[in-house]
Each structure stands twice: as structure tokens, then as C-alpha cells.
Symmetry: C2
Subunit: 458 residues, 2 copies
């Protein structure tokens, strides 16, 4: 179920991809299209395009493919007739769930529930997961303020015309460089790139700095600790300031590793202290694991690296988990959280099988092993090419490296692609590595050789 290496027939995008881009351009905006794929022919770690080029994929559909392409265990699921009806009949889960739904949830999402969380609400993508997690925090906060769960008559009438007290002036604290989605609520907490936000109305919500760590970490231990302390202080200041402004912070949202924003890491101590600040000020603590969750850091959830029994009040997920959703503590009952589909049981079906494969094939251990090889390889390359590469960093295979400037980054990514490796960027000038969980040490070496060739020619 995997090929033995990349095989290139044309430059990418090849003539067939270019033709299809023109065709699709008649129908929709194609500004972001890289090339067209043949998903039938793609296998494991290899993405095949419509021109017959076969590429080692370290980007995996923006980090959303858990087991590579066409994993036999997933294909096999569709041979079972019961599963056909799950795929064909999408229910309104909130009102008419299928009979096996509680059992499937136990087998899948509940079997990997974060510490301290026994409840989960499915959703359909990262954006609705976060939007609804924010709503759950707002409702929880207002219930706390009222001392009970019943909105007043004035709440009910004023909210119909978007006014307070029914629509309260509450806020979510987010971090500069964070990414939590692009619907309006999520976008108010996203601060990765201007192009994501410009021209869209937003909300006056507080934003704290996220630590900018210096690498190698051993060398800058003192500076980095100071930097983290500064960011924590600023976060606490913002909470106080927004309370005084009359827009109290109902919740804090943060990624364990800021992914779109440039793979920015912080220490477990930073997250522990932030969790305490949330508790101290009565804010809910929401860990957004949409990109970090699912095993790519070597643990199922990136927040497990913090080593906390009580890592947060809400953990949201999507991407590699195929279904979206959020776990939450008992206190944050998502009453009044509802939409037509509330997720998609067919995605849950595949997730159950993904989790089985992760367990039976010990994929978290594999990721840890491949991740070590990858990071060591990147360390060597940045020593070899100090003018081009710096700040190699990562956890599991969730790695990144900085390139001297944006133009060089783009050129490296395109050259690597023409040599049969698919990579993606993040932040201003980072390359991020997001292989599937089936990316083995063998693939790491394949990749490093090709990457080395590209750098040598630069």
C-alpha cells in the first residue's frame, strides 16, 4: 500500500494540471490551486498528480490525512453493507442519531478523550468546532454571572435585535500569530496573516503576544524564559484591561503549537501558567488542537506534552480526526449548541478505523521515531546551510524550519516539488513538515536526500 519512491514525469504543475486549472478557472477562483491530483492512484505517503507524477507528501492536504492515501483498512470499511447506509443517509445528528452513535462515539472519540474530559460534541470542520466552543464558553460565562441557567425576559428580547444584555459584550482572548479558522467569530481570534482578515468586520477582542523563542533552546534558556514571562504578563494585563472596558474575557483560546502562524512553540511551563491565569480570572481555557491533534506530535494530543491532569476546559479538533468537534468538561454543557448536521457519522466511521490502525500499528511510536530522525536531519542541514536554514524545531513529525527569506522559501518548495516532494509553508518564512502518521524513518531519509539536493543547488 505504498510506492517505493517518487517518480516524476513532468514539471509540476504539468500540462494536464495546467489545462484543468484553466477549466476550473472558468467556474471558480483558482488562485490557490497547486496542481490536480489522481486520488485513485495515490497510495500511502505518495500523492499522484494528473500528469502521472508521484510525490512523497509531507503536506498531506494541509495536515488532514491521518493514514496516507487509500489506506486498505479504510477502503475495506466500504465493503460492509451497513456502512453504505451510513455514508448515503446523513442524519440530523442532534435530533435523530443512528442507533450505533453512542457506541461509535465510545469506540472512537471517547477512547482518546483528553484528561479530565468525558463529554464530546461532534461538528463538521475546524471552524464550526471553534465557533461552537466559543458559544459554549459565552453561555457558561453568562450562566456564572447570572448564578443560574435561565436568561431573563430582557435577555431574550434584546438578543433578537443583536443588543445587550441578551447579546453580551463578552470577548475571547487570543494570541498574535494564532489561527483558529476564518468564519467571523473564529476570524476575530485569528492573527496569522493580514490576508486572512483584511476587509472583514471584526470584534474588539483582546490579543496577547505569543512567545517568540530563540533557537537552539539550550543556548537561550534564560532569554526564552523571560520572553514567556513577558507574554504571560501581557495576557493577564489584557484580561484585566478588557474587564475594565466592560468586555470581560469569557475564554482564552490557544494552539499548543501555532501552526499557520509559523510553527511557534512554547514550553509546558508557559501553558501551565496560562492555564492558571485562566482559572484565576474565571476564564474558560480552550486548547485548539485542530492541526496538532491526531498523533503527529508523537502523542495523540499535543497538550499531553504539558503533562497536566487538567489541561483545559475545552479541546477542539478536526482535520486528521476527519470529523470536527470539541471535548469539554462537565461544567461547560453546550446547551443551545445546535445545527442541522452536528457532524457526519460517516466521518466518525472512518475515524474509528483510523484509531484502530494507530493502535495496532503503534503509529505514535513510529511518529516519535520518524520525528527524531527528521529533526536530526534538519539540524544537520541547517549546520550545512547556515545561510539558508535556521531554527529547526518540532515535536514528533510536526516539524518546521526557517528559510532566509520568503522568495527563497518559495523557490525551495517549488524545486522540491519538481524533485518529487510536496511541502507547505507557514508563517512569514517557515517550511512546515506535516507527513501522515505512516511516514517511517525510511521516508525521512528519502526526503532528506532530496531536500539536500535542492539546497545544494541553491
Amino acid at each position: 500500500c505504498d510506492y517505493d519512491g517518487p517518480a516524476m514525469k513532468t514539471q509540476v504543475p504539468g500540462p494536464r494540471s495546467q489545462e484543468l486549472t484553466k477549466q476550473l478557472g472558468e467556474i471558480q477562483n483558482v488562485g490557490a490551486v497547486n496542481f490536480f491530483c489522481n486520488y485513485n492512484e495515490s497510495r500511502g505517503n505518495y500523492l499522484v498528480d494528473v500528469d502521472g507524477n508521484r510525490m512523497l507528501d509531507l503536506y498531506t492536504q494541509i495536515s488532514s490525512i491521518p493514514l496516507g492515501y487509500n489506506h486498505p483498512a479504510l477502503i475495506k470499511l466500504m465493503a460492509h453493507p451497513d456502512n453504505l447506509s451510513t455514508i448515503v443517509n446523513r442524519p440530523a445528528l442532534g435530533i435523530l442519531p443512528p442507533g450505533n452513535f453512542p457506541e461509535k462515539l465510545m469506540e472512537s472519540l471517547l477512547s482518546v478523550a483528553p484528561s479530565g474530559m468525558t463529554r464530546v460534541q461532534t461538528m463538521a470542520c475546524g471552524s464550526c468546532s471553534n465557533e461552537n466552543a466559543y458559544k459554549a464558553m459565552f453561555i457558561w460565562y453568562r450562566n456564572k454571572e447570572r448564578g443560574h441557567n435561565t436568561p431573563s425576559a430582557e435577555d431574550l428580547s434584546s438578543c433578537m435585535v443583536n443588543q445587550g444584555p441578551g447579546c453580551p459584550d463578552l470577548s475571547i482572548l487570543s494570541f498574535m500569530g494564532g489561527f483558529h479558522g476564518r468564519t467571523l467569530g473564529c476570524l476575530a481570534t485569528t492573527h496569522s496573516k493580514a490576508i486572512h482578515k483584511v476587509d472583514v468586520p471584526s470584534l474588539d477582542w483582546p490579543i496577547a503576544p505569543f512567545p517568540k523563542l530563540k533557537y537552539p533552546l539550550e543556548e537561550f534558556a534564560r532569554e526564552n524564559a523571560q520572553e514567556e514571562a513577558r507574554c504571560l504578563e501581557e495576557a493577564e494585563d489584557q484580561i484585566v484591561k478588557w474587564r475594565h472596558k466592560g468586555k470581560p474575557v469569557a475564554g482564552i483560546v490557544i494552539e499548543p503549537i501555532q501552526a499557520e502562524g509559523g510553527d511557534n512553540h512554547a514550553s509546558p511551563e508557559f501553558f501551565k501558567s496560562l492555564r492558571n491565569i485562566a482559572r484565576k480570572h474565571g476564564c474558560a481555557f480552550h486548547v485548539d488542537e485542530v492541526q496538532t491533534g491526531g498523533g503527529c506530535t508523537g502523542k495523540f494530543w499535543a497538550h499531553e506534552h504539558w503533562g497536566m491532569d487538567d489541561p483545559g476546559d475545552i479541546v477542539s479538533f478536526s482535520k486528521k480526526l476527519l470529523t470536527g468537534g470539541f471535548y469539554h468538561k462537565n461544567e461547560l454543557q453546550p446547551y443551545r449548541i445546535f445545527n442541522t448536521w452536528m457532524g457526519d457519522p460517516s466521518k466518525n466511521l472512518f475515524l474509528t478505523e483510523v484509531l484502530n490502525v494507530i493502535r495496532t500499528e503503534n503509529l505514535l511510536e513510529e511518529v516519535t521515531r520518524s520525528g527524531k530522525a527528521l529533526l536530526n536531519g534538519l539540524y544537520e542541514l541547517q549546520t550545512q546551510y547556515p545561510g539558508i536554514l535556521s531554527r529547526a524545531r518540532g515535536q514528533g513529525t510536526f516539524c518546521a524550519i526557517d528559510v532566509c527569506d520568503d522568495a527563497t522559501r518559495t523557490s525551495i518548495i517549488l524545486k522540491a516539488r519538481n524533485k518529487g516532494v510536496v511541502l507547505g509553508g507557514c508563517g512569514d518564512r517557515s517550511i512546515r513538515f506535516r507527513p501522515a502518521l505512516v511516514f517511517k524513518e525510511y521516508h525521512v531519509h528519502l526526503f532528506l536526500n532530496i531536500f539536500n539536493d535542492v539546497l545544494a543547488q541553491h
Copy 2:
């Protein structure tokens, strides 16, 4: 592929459903769960529950099932090996679309494009469809204001911290009673029930009244025309008022029939005049067909009943179309509209087949025929039970009737369910009818008989 009538074994929810509700309650909020379903055994217009009850379904998963349950044409799709890979490998459509994507779009969504619209952007649900349609309108409006498409340096820096001019004070005009989704941007335009909105921060955006028509329409022609004129005047006033407030209206969003809000209809003239008001004031006109689209009104889009060549600038869809998304005019290029999945080609695959079936089985004509029989039946029942029923209304099978009060409505819906008919409510005291497109005259009579029994016992 259909049963020959309802068959009831227990009260609904039966013992098995109650047991499962308890189980699911340990994992998530079950406040809205009606009963648990056996989707394997469900067929055509009949929904089967886990206790073996078989019910005629006039609610169809909140109006989201186009061809009934387990339609053989859809099951057959999964026998084709190419389609397995479409279901197993969900791509990031915006960057790496499958080779057949342009062709599939032509075959499916473009083949039913609204008049004047040649472009379509897929999304995954009604909320992201509307959220992104709003963003497209905001970006379009700002480009118009600037006179070009390039945000200034100040736009780019200010938007990173949620401030103007980068995050502009623009608004969307919506209507009281409207429903457009429950993520934060959508929710600011939703005004159907307080319980959807309360405790969630919102935006100060204008809201106009939607006509409250009196029935029968023939009898109240003059009053209804006055009511529509009043609402149009108010809408125009709001546009002017919000412009003076410094929060210009970038777009107007409206449903052709307000569905969640109580099946509120307005005349084609109302929509034509509103379209002109939008044009006059330079606002985009967004027709939300998430619930009305897909054929249930007897035309594929409800706005076709307006008889306009240029019905709007944007038409959004989801539910019965299985994939979400929005059509738009050339001028509203959705640059910078992006997320991980941008829809789901597996849903598009099923949609293509749904459209084939609609054509080959002449389902729009069937809907028109069944709809007439349904509405006539409802007229008779409201004459027979004037103390209980009033205001029967509808287009195609998209019908509704008012019940004297909320308690009676609930009791009627529950009694009908125990006699083998699934119904849903909308608004304060309406029952809405939302059968699948395969609901024939035969089913109408089956339903009317049971409904009559329920009313007779009341």
C-alpha cells in the same frame, strides 16, 4: 425501494430509543434528541427507528434528504471503485483538487446554476456557505470603495488587531424572522428564536421587518400589499440610517421563504422591489436557499418563482444539495475565501446522481403535483378544524400550517408520530412539511388520513 405504509410497534421514543438516549446523555447533551434511527432499514419516504417503528417522514432530517432514504441510485454509486477513493481521500480542494473536479462541477452544480450566475464556490454546510458569502460581499464592497482590489498598508496592519480600516465597520441587512445559521457572523443575521441568539456576542447590524401576510391571500390582497410596502420602506430606511451611522450595508441577505422563522412567504413583487433597493444603494443581494433550494418548491430554486433574469448577486445552498456552497456573479470574485476542505467531493459525487434522478424521474413535476394535493388537503382540514388550524400555505411540498397554540402544536406532532408520521415545527406555532422529492400523491393521502385522525381525536 419504499414501504407500503407506516407500521408502529411502540410509542415513540420506544424503550430502545430511551435506553440509547440515556447512554448518549453520558457523553453529550441530548436535549434535542427525538429518537434513535435504524438508517439501514429506512427506505424512501419511511424512517425506521431502533424499536422497529416505521414512519412516513415529512421532516427528512430538517429538510436535508433529497431522495428519501437509501435510494438505490446512491447506493449503486459506491459499487464503482473510483468512487471509493473519492470517499476515503478527502482533499484540500482549494489547493489540490481531484482531476475530475471541473467536470463534476459542470455536471452537478453548474447544471442548475441560478440565472445570471456562472461561478460557484463549494463549502461544507449552510453556515460556512453564508459566512463566506458575507465575506465575499464585504471584500467586494471594500474593493468598490477603494476603486481597486489592493488593500493599503494601513488596512493590512490594522486588521491584524481587529481594528479599522482593515476590519471595516460594514454591515449586512437581514430580516426579523430570518435564519441564516448559528456561527457568529451568520447568527448576527439570524432572528428566528431568542434561544438561538441569547448569551452570544453580536454585531450592531440593521434588521428590517419581513412581511406578515394574512391568509387567504385573495381576501387580503390590499392589506398584504400595504404590509409589503411598509417592510420595503423600512428596509430602505435602515440602509440609509446605517450608512449615516458609519456602518454601511455591504449586502442584504434574505430567504425566499423564511423557513425556521415560521414559513413566512412574500410576493415576487416584494423580492423584485427589494432587489432594486439593493441595486439603488450599491448593496449586494444574497438569496439564502439553504432550506428552499433543491426542488422542494416545485422549481429547483425558490427564487425562480420570482420570474427574474437577475434574481441576485449571490445564492447560497446546502442541505438537500448535500454539499454547501454559493453561486455568485462575476463581479463578486471570492478572492481570499479559503479553508482546509472547501467542501467535500464525496458529497458532490452524490449530488450529481441526485440531479440525474431529479431529471429522469421528473421529480420537480412530481413535487408540484404532490404539493397541490398537500395544500388542498390542508385547506380542507383547516375548514374542518377552524379552532385548531389556520393559514395553510406553501409552494410545492414546502408547506406549513398554523396551530392555535404551541402546546397544541407539540401535542399534535407527538400524536402524529405515534401514528407513524414524522413532522417538525417552525416559528411560534407552525407545523412545517418537508418531505423528500420522492413524496408522491399517494403519500400525501396517506399522510392526510393520519393527520385527520389525529385532529379528530383532539
